[in-house]
Amino acid sequence: MTRIWKLAAIGAALGLAATPAVAGFKLVPKGTPIAVAKSTLTVTPSVDWNRLGARPGRNAESWTLDGLTLDDLTFYSGIDNDATLFRDARKKTAPLPRFNSTMLAPDIAQLFESSYRVSIGTSLMSIDGVEPATFAGKPGFHFTYTFVIQGEEVRRKGEATGAVIGGKLYLITFEAPVIHYFDATRDAAKNIVDSARI
C-alpha cells in the first residue's frame, strides 16, 4: 500500500506520464552459428529466436520466442571470479552473491538460487536436482529449478546447463511458466544448449 502511494506520488510530483521502456529485439535466424553475450560462446539455433537488446548483465544475454515472461533463454558467458551473474542493480541494499572459481557444481546451483532469490525477492525457489553433464564438449553440470516471483502466482520451471572452463563460468538457462510454455519451448532451447561451442 505505502509503496504504491510512494511511487504514485513521485510520478505525480515529477509530472511524468508512464512510458514503458522500449525493449528492442533483434531476430536471430535459424541455422546460422552465432556468438552470444559478446563472447566466444557460439550456438546454432534450430528455429528463429528473438534477442533482447538490453542485456541482463555484462556477460549475459537473453533470447525469447514469445516474450521474456513466457519463455526466457539466458546465456551467462565467461563470468569471472568475484563477478555477479547479472547486473547488481541494488548493490547497496540487496547485493548479489559473487561467483568464485573454486565453486563446485552444487555451489554454482546455490549461487544461482541465491542470485534469483535476492533479485526477484522470493523465498519460493528451489533447485530440484543437480547432475553431471557435458557442456560445449567439456565436463559440466545440469540442474533444474522452480520458482514463483514475489507478488505473482505464476509457477515457473527452468533448467540450467553449464561448466567452469578456465576458471570462468559458462551457463545457459531456460525458464518458462509450468503451464504450457515450458514444455512447448523446451526442445528449441535444448537444441541451442546442445549446439554450444567455445
Binding site: P97, P106, D107, Q110, S114, I127, F141
Partner: protein, 284 residues
Amino acid sequence: MMQVWSGLFLRTRNEAQLAAVLAHEYVHYQNRHSLMIFREARRRAAGASFMAMFGLIGLLLAIGQISAIFQFSREQEADADAESVGMLTRAGYDPNEVPKIWEQFRAEADATAVARGTKSRKDKNGGLFASHPPTAERVAALTAEAKKIPVSATWQTGETQYRASLAAFWPSFIDDQVKLNDFGGTEFLIDYLARTGWTPALNYARGELYRARGRPEDLKAAAGFYHDAAVAPEAPVEAWRGLGLSLLRTGDQPGGQAALKTYLERKPDASDKSMIAMLAGGTQ
C-alpha cells in the same frame, strides 16, 4: 488483509514481540487508517495537480502537498505504536518487549553493514516520502509509552512457548535467510538463536552461511562448523554434504570425498546424488 512473512519469526524473540507486531497492524485496521489515508490523499491530490501546472514553484508546492500525505501516514504509525502497547499489556504481555524489536532491527542493520563494509541503514526511512518514523525516535517513544504503565508481576514474554512452537520451523527459515546473501545480518540472527548453546542444526546453518560466502578462510571455518554438527547423532545429514564440499574446495580431497560418501550412505535418495557421487569419486 494482514500477511505475516516467515522472516518475522526469525526476528521476534518471544510471543510478546510477535504479539506487538500483530497488535500494531491491528490498530491500523481497527482505526481504519488506510481509509483515512485514501481520503487525505484524495483531498490533497486535486490541489497538488492544480499547483503542478504552474512551473517550478507550483511543482514545489505540489511536492509539499504530497509529502504532507506521508506526514499523515507517519502520524498514524505513531498512533498504532502507542495503542499497541496498551493492547499488549491487556493481553498479559510485558510491554517493555516492544521497543526491543526495534533495537534488534537496528543491531541487525549494523551487523549487515559491518559485514558489507557499508554505512548502517538503520536510520534510513525514505526521507520526505517516509511512511514510518525513524527507528531511534520510535524506540524512545515506545520505551516512554511502556514506562507509563505500572509494572505488574504477572507480565509474561512467552519466550519458552515461542521457541518450542517454532523449533521445527527454524531450519527452513534460516535456510531462506542464508540465501539472502546478507552475511552479517544472518550471523547476528543465528548467534541470537545459539545463545543457549550451539545445536547441530545451528552449527549446520553457520556452516552453510560461511560456505556460501566462500572466502578461503570461510571454507575452513565452515568445515569446522559442519564437523561439529555432523558428530552429533541428531545432526541434519546435509552437514556431511556441506563438510565434503567445503573440504574439497580447501584442497582436502580424501577428507571431502569421505564426507560426501557418508552423506550418500545416509541419504541415498538425495536430489543431487549423481553429482555428489561424481564429486565423491565413485561411479553412480
